[in-house]
Symmetry: C2
Subunit: 341 residues, 2 copies
């Protein structure tokens, strides 16, 4: 491997001058700069990043922890992060927590040991304790949370207003005439599922619809299978339900599959609205009305915040955490339709 030393020897000048020339320092003569540049190109010189990292104490690499890679929303976020990072010359190391608190701690540790310049994280459902996050922040490593966040942790965040979005979804069901509205919610832990539930409840209250807790089903792993399972359950106990707001598209797609199986007509007999706008939602039959969650944009914004924090801390400028709330849209498709008055 070619080093600065090789170039210096080749030209009979010092390593110092070569280094400065390559960085276009103005205190090196134009002539020398040109000569060095050409020799470096000729020898196919590539700076040794390991040495650069050690000297500059930066690696131009950030870490990313997501609960699950094979997931349309998260892969969109990853894409947003990677594309934005690239623009600023950063590379991204991706790890997944598999929705496990223990794994999340482990991965965070790996990244801290690796000394990445900053970390982006979306929490696992299993994460209730935030000590590991606090440690990172106290270590002064820039940390930005997105989507699944811990409200009480002080750091920058990028989220959607889940409560408002869920309200919007539920209001849509009410607007088209639904009276008995069920809700499949996520587990007790991630802030998301709490907020979406609260949005659902609030919409009912604001429209003078009695909240009936027996219409709220608490799911665990939020899978396609669970969607089928709870749809079956719902049909068994609550034949009168005319609308359902489901926490996430995958589960909604499972529920619709079960409704289809049992010959229950969507939307005629039951209106279904999901959450997230997975690509899949647009191609199933009936296509799924849902709330669009801008994953790609969330990734971009999250990286931008992180980048800013990295720059500011590096330059020891005062820095304030920021919380960005992205807009969500209602995407109306075939699975909801105004009821005959």
């Amino acid at each position: 491997m070619v080093t600065l030393k090789h170039i210096a020897e080749e030209l009979g000048i010092s390593i110092t001058t070569v280094s400065k020339a390559l960085k276009e320092y103005p205190d090196v003569s134009k002539k020398t700069r040109k000569l060095v540049r050409e020799t470096a190109a000729m020898l196919n010189y590539k700076p040794n990043t390991f040495a650069v990292n050690l000297r500059t104490k930066e690696s131009k690499t950030i870490g990313l922890i997501i609960p699950e890679i094979v997931h349309h929303f998260f892969s969109s976020v990853v894409k947003g992060i990677v594309s934005q990072a690239e623009k600023k010359g950063y590379l991204v190391i991706t790890l997944q927590s598999n929705e496990s608190y223990e794994l999340e701690k482990k991965q965070l540790n790996l990244l801290a040991n690796k000394r990445v310049d900053g970390i982006l994280i979306s929490l696992a459902n299993g994460t209730a304790d935030y000590k590991h996050l606090k440690e990172i922040i106290e270590d002064d490593t820039p940390l930005v949370m997105f989507d699944k966040i811990a409200k009480i942790i002080k750091c920058s965040k990028v989220i959607v207003d889940d409560r408002k979005a869920a309200y919007k979804a539920t209001q849509h069901l009410i607007d088209i005439g639904c009276k008995r509205i069920a809700h499949f919610r996520g587990p007790l832990l991630p802030q998301n599922s709490i907020d979406r539930f609260l949005g659902y409840k609030q919409a009912l209250t604001d429209n003078n619809i009695l909240y009936d807790s027996s219409l709220v089903y608490l799911l665990n792993d939020m899978s396609f299978e669970e969607g089928k399972l709870y749809a079956k359950e719902l049909l068994k106990n609550h034949k009168d339900v005319d609308g359902i707001f489901i926490n996430t598209d995958l589960v909604a797609i499972g529920a619709i599959a079960e409704f289809n199986n049992q010959g229950i007509k969507v939307p005629e007999q039951i209106n279904v609205i999901g959450f997230s706008n997975w690509f899949m939602a647009s191609v199933i039959s009936p296509s799924l009305t849902t709330i669009n969650q801008p994953g790609f944009e969330m990734g971009k914004k999250a990286f931008k915040l992180l980048y800013k924090e990295i720059r500011y801390k590096k330059e020891k400028r005062p820095f304030n955490y920021k919380e960005i709330v992205l807009e969500t849209d209602l995407i109306t498709r075939e699975s909801t339709k105004p009821l005959p008055f």
Copy 2:
């Protein structure tokens, strides 16, 4: 940040001994080792990876280039790679080429400059020239290709037998009684689409069905929209087609959407088989018969090959490239059904 020096000073011993003690060298007394270990834990010592990298000339980091992150097959591969890498203490930097040759070159360069220990790559459709890959190999950086490969490049590979799999898919259509079988193929470039086309053609020939080139449609971006578009085209020109083998699930799902739109019954009027087994294929209606392509396993295997190459090269042991061909399965679903003789 705590360094070896801090620990050494704390204990009044040399940096050398601390370093060796932490690595459990047997030539350090048990007592000293214990003392050092405890002090390191107490001070929350973390080895500076930048320095370690510089010394050992390894970063325990590999690079991964895929054409597209938001893609069920590739995200499964990523998951397989990341999970396997983790087991061996490696981290993964992911980049995407967006199916562009230029971008692919750039990303490969970024990774080379970063001095990752090895690189995993699935080629962009646009890649026809392999100079960038050869350079990496000549640089002695371990490189493993998977899924979309260049046959003539000498390196380890993990693939499926696309030709055989396509043959299997086409044979299935023939077995259920199809006589006029169309094919939506991918662009001319990636080896995949050539092989799948050849498998299709071979199956026809072996079953004494005349190959009709007008039944083969060459698509470009392999999107849902293109599936709809070419399905429309097919219906316009070839009403007699009773079966179609489509290069990839997403396109097949688009085609089915178009058939549904136009009231063409799948499978009664036309049998459809896809390729890849995206999760989506199982939830659409009718669900899609397809060829399962084991993404997760491919990722795991690809990393294992890369890891082995890294180890062998590091130890300067002789090393032979290996090509692993993974099995594919026919997944029969609703979109194909035996024709009434």
